[in-house]
């Protein structure tokens, strides 16, 4: 560090006293802090699991290990895609990076969908709500906070994806920020509608929450239609249009986002073991 700092050309030099980019350092410091956030939450959950009030719900009666394993697997794969996205942009491969970003987002959304399903299931089928039991209180708060982290990650991914279309010449339809916003809207429209569709589908197959096996007719198709429209809009916004201001110089932005995403993944690794698996012993 010492000799390095003394020898670098300090003027306008993008590299820093340590050679670590500022954004990366910021991210690592933030993650160190985030450890403590989740540490406090997980501790709360475990403490109450060690001292459950009498007559409380048994986790095994509500948990669904298949679903959780599936979403764990999906989140792991999203981490892989994230790593690939960083790898791609570091080599200046914008197209590949975009696809990886989209896949990451997609997996993230599936994870969230699973969580929405899981929460609904717990509340409606097993009557475990956030307020009627201590288990519900700590479980929903912990996994919900994690879910919020995933959701913020998906949002960030979406912003990055849309940003990758920023034109190098700075011109474009409603101005760069207007087009940007619409593109973003289309993207999240797609994700939300698709998620809604899938959940409706599953519900109707399970036949609860006001849906019945035979009821697969009206609402679902409406959602499906909306999804398709939104996808179309995404394609339209993503049409090739000249050079973009997005390349290996922006690798650090993608990389710091990736750090966040992977962190969310490792938190889940801990939650999966501490909150779910240990209960099965």
């Amino acid at each position: 560090m010492t000799s390095h700092a003394a020898t670098i050309d300090h003027h306008h030099d993008p590299s820093t006293a340590t050679g670590i980019p500022n954004k990366k350092l910021l991210m690592w410091a933030f993650l160190a802090s985030d450890c403590m956030f989740f540490g406090a939450l997980i501790s709360t959950h475990l403490i109450y699991r060690l001292h459950p009030p009498s007559g409380s719900i048994r986790p095994l009666d509500v948990f669904d290990i298949q679903l959780t394993s599936f979403s764990t697997f999906i989140l792991l794969m999203s981490s892989l895609m994230m790593a690939l996205a960083v790898n791609a942009i570091q080599k200046g491969n914008v197209r590949s990076c975009r696809w990886s970003l989209l896949t990451t987002m997609f997996f993230g959304t599936i994870f969230l969908g699973c969580q929405v399903f899981e929460f609904n299931n717990f509340v409606l089928e097993h009557h475990m709500t956030i307020s009627n039991s201590l288990l519900g209180t700590t479980f929903f708060t912990l996994t919900g906070t994690h879910g919020c982290h995933v959701a913020i990650g998906v949002l960030w991914l979406g912003l990055m994806y849309v940003r990758s279309f920023k034109r190098a010449d700075g011109v474009g339809g409603a101005g760069p920020w207007g087009a940007n916003l619409l593109h973003l809207a289309a993207l999240f429209g797609t994700l939300l509608l698709a998620m809604k569709f899938v959940i409706e589908l599953v519900w109707s197959l399970h036949g609860f929450n006001g849906y019945s096996l035979t009821g697969f007719a009206g609402r679902e198709f409406l959602t499906l239609g909306g999804t398709l429209v939104a996808i179309g809009a995404c394609f339209w916004f993503a049409r090739p249009a000249g050079a973009v201001d997005f390349n290996e110089r922006h690798a650090i932005d993608v990389e710091s986002m990736g750090l966040y995403w992977h962190f969310v993944d490792i938190v889940w690794i801990v939650i999966f073991t501490a909150v779910y698996l240990l209960e099965y012993l």
Partner: protein, 112 residues
């Protein structure tokens, strides 16, 4: 920030050239396999403490793989690792202490 690859110090740079694609895929597979083992593990008829130890170890391994490979710590300046581990170690210590405090008999809640 936004350091273009070209201006990064050479030591950092070299790794960006050869693709890590295969490595990443391998690691992802490894992680999936470990997760599978964990899930099966909880149903195995071993002593509880053994399974708990195994689960904790396996999770720790996954954790380390993700931070050192996916999150690049292995190739980054050691300072990043130090930075993160300060947080990690303090969190671990605090969680341990909290669980101990609430595990002690003197801290039990009132019997209901």
């Amino acid at each position: 920030m936004t350091a273009p690859a070209a201006t990064l110090p050479a030591s950092d740079h070299g790794h960006h050239d050869e693709s890590k694609f295969p490595l990443y895929v391998e690691i992802a597979m490894l992680l999936a396999v470990i997760t599978g083992v964990e899930i099966i593990g909880v149903y195995l008829p071993f002593a509880k403490w053994m399974i708990v130890t195994a689960l904790v170890t396996l999770s720790a391994v996954k954790f380390m793989f993700v931070i050192f490979y996916f999150m690049h710590l292995r190739w980054d300046k050691p300072f990043c690792t130090i930075l993160f581990f300060i947080g990690l170690v303090l969190t671990g210590g605090t969680m341990w202490a909290l669980l101990q405090l609430f595990g002690a008999t003197a801290s039990l809640p009132l019997p209901t």
